[in-house]
């Protein structure tokens, strides 16, 4: 049970049940759909860019607790950041969930450190990173992306 709690930490469960920024953004000027064909998880990420800054961000869709919580917490942490900062965060986050973090992710990942347990569950890495891949696609102007 204890190792399951490493994955399903309270913060993750809480975000999965009550995801933040879970809505459509009518004013979004960037938008992409992310799809994991393996399990059917599907999210749309909406971004309003103001110059190089992510002024607003939201998401909608369906997926497991890990993917939904990850999307929810991603929208919180990248809001107000620049595209380049978001990209760097994704890199750190990816290293964290794949167990390649040379440090513990550092202060920059903040609350996202709760996803460190994912590295023990290789099958779930794609769940944790789906929203991030989708954000990346949105910022690059792609309409859709998949985890495959």
């Amino acid at each position: 049970m204890s190792d399951l709690r490493d994955l399903y930490q309270d913060v993750i469960l809480e975000h999965s049940k009550a995801p933040r920024n879970y809505k459509e953004l009518p004013a979004a000027n960037h938008k992409a759909e992310g799809f994991n064909p393996l399990c059917g998880d599907r999210f749309t990420v909406y971004v309003t860019m103001d110059g190089d800054a992510i002024r607003d961000i939201s998401f909608q869709g369906s997926g497991c607790a890990i993917s939904k919580a990850s999307a929810s917490m991603m929208t919180q942490i990248v809001k107000g950041k620049s595209a380049a900062e978001a990209e760097k965060l994704f890199e750190s986050f990816h290293n964290l969930v794949t167990g390649q973090a040379n440090t513990n992710g550092g202060a920059e990942l903040g609350k996202l450190a709760v996803f460190s347990g994912v590295s023990e569950y290789p099958a779930r890495v794609k769940c944790a990173t789906l929203a991030w891949h989708t954000l990346q696609a949105a910022l690059e102007g792609k309409q859709e992306t998949t985890t495959e």
Binding site: M1, D3, L4, R5, L7, Y8, L13, K17, L38, C39, G40, D41, R42, S62, G63, C64, A65, I66, K68, Y121, A123, R124, C127
Partner: protein, 416 residues
């Protein structure tokens, strides 16, 4: 359950003894005894199958139908004897109606590309059902697109049963082929094949049956069913992956053009003209999966020795027990409640995503499948993205069903 009755069902099936035949079942996963309930994806292999393959490679390995030397004759004899085993297993009229293919998917593609391209034209129709696996949808979409034909789909009820009235209304003079699953992989529903065949034949349409999920659980008699084609995969019936069987009636197979060209499927070749081999070799181009065929033969013999009716009775008892127990867990919705079912317990649990169920069950040693089960239209019918699916085989026990229930309770604890 009394102690004396432990592991022995009413049918007198000694499940503990059977379990000892499967080496892989003896292991622990994440420190817990493995409870393997992903049999609809693939079944485990008994020692008899593993040893038949080893024996072949250690003592008989040679190419078939070619050499005059000792080993080639041995390999050919063993390979061809499996064709007779399969004929008898399906009660086909003739061994030349048994074609070795890679699996159910290849069998369906063979019929679509060979029979379909020769007989389906512009404006014609192919009829399938809403409960088909993607492998019994996509080959027909490819064919229909190529020929300008139309794919028609007979709907299912909310219990997951085929709507036979709608099915019969969709049949007509334009129907050139009906392709239907015997047992649904996502729902476990058993379709009334004999009735479907009679209805289809009344408009002159031949019927292909996808038997991938039926052969491990039900007695299949292709002559009693009356179907024109029957396809199944070896690996779901305790045999190796990469080998399967297409049964086809001689009269249809004779008229069909080859599916693939190559060695073994020809009688003679010149650059001007090639004469194709007789049945069944016309459809077996290239060196086949000889070891796979021999492993499949061992698997079919294993099942026949235990008796498919006894296997089915044992499984039904465990599936019913598991279904009753899982149904009482708060939040559980069983997907697929047909009166006639085999082997499958598909469910959802409140708002918990099936992927999370699968991960937590895995940590308890319980292996299930989660997702859309390659049947996205079925998921759409029930308004869900995915289910958790426990699927059973001859070696599963009521104790394992109890372990499944305990593991689902763990999911509820985590997501409380």
């Amino acid at each position: 359950m009394s102690v004396a009755a432990k592991g022995v069902s009413g049918a007198g099936f000694d499940v503990e003894r059977v379990r000892a035949d499967f080496p892989i079942l003896q292991q622990k996963v994440h420190g817990k005894p493995l409870v393997y309930l992903d049999n609809a994806a693939t079944s485990q292999k008994p020692r008899a199958v593993i040893e038949a393959i080893s024996r072949y490679y250690e003592g008989t390995n040679s190419n078939v139908h070619r050499g005059v030397h000792y080993l080639s004759e041995l390999a050919t004899a063993e390979y061809e004897s499996v064709r007779e085993t399969a004929r008898s297993f399906l009660n086909a009229a003739d061994h030349k109606e048994i074609i070795f293919v890679r699996g159910t998917t290849e069998a369906i593609n063979l019929v679509a590309q060979s029979y379909g391209r020769a007989h389906v034209g512009s404006g014609d129709e192919i009829l399938i059902t809403e409960m088909e696996h993607h492998s019994n949808i996509v080959p027909w979409q490819i064919l229909c697109k190529e020929r300008g034909a139309m794919l028609r789909v007979a709907p299912i009820s909310d219990a997951g049963e085929l709507d036979l009235d709608s099915f019969s209304k969709l049949l007509g003079p334009k129907t050139k082929l009906v392709s239907v699953t015997h047992v649904s992989n996502a729902l476990g529903t058993i379709n009334p094949i004999r009735r479907i065949v009679d209805m289809a034949h009344s408009v002159g349409a031949p019927v292909l049956v996808d038997g991938a999920q039926a052969v491990p659980h039900l007695k299949v008699d292709v002559q009693a069913l009356g179907c024109d084609f029957y396809a199944f995969s070896g690996h779901k019936v305790y045999g190796p992956t990469g080998i399967g069987i297409l049964y086809g009636k001689t009269a249809l197979l004779e008229k069909m053009p080859p599916y693939q060209g190559g060695g073994d499927m020809i009688m003679s070749v010149t650059f001007e003209k090639t004469v194709y081999n007789r049945l069944p070799y016309k459809f077996e181009a290239g060196t086949p999966d000889i070891a796979g065929v021999i492993g499949l033969g061992a698997a079919l013999n294993y099942v026949s020795r235990l008796g498919i009716e006894r296997i089915g009775a044992q499984e039904n008892e465990v599936v019913r027990y598991a279904t009753d127990a899982v149904s009482t867990i708060p939040g559980v919705r069983v997907i697929g409640t047909a009166k006639e079912k085999a082997g499958v317990l598909s469910f959802t649990l409140g708002e918990v995503h099936p992927h999370d169920i699968g991960t937590i069950l895995d940590r308890e040693g319980v292996a299930i499948r989660t997702g859309h089960h390659c049947s996205q239209p079925v998921m759409q019918h029930f308004g869900i993205e995915a289910t958790a699916r426990a699927s059973f085989a001859l070696y599963n026990t009521k104790e394992e069903a109890d372990a499944l229930v305990r593991a689902i309770e763990k999911v509820r604890e985590v997501f409380a």
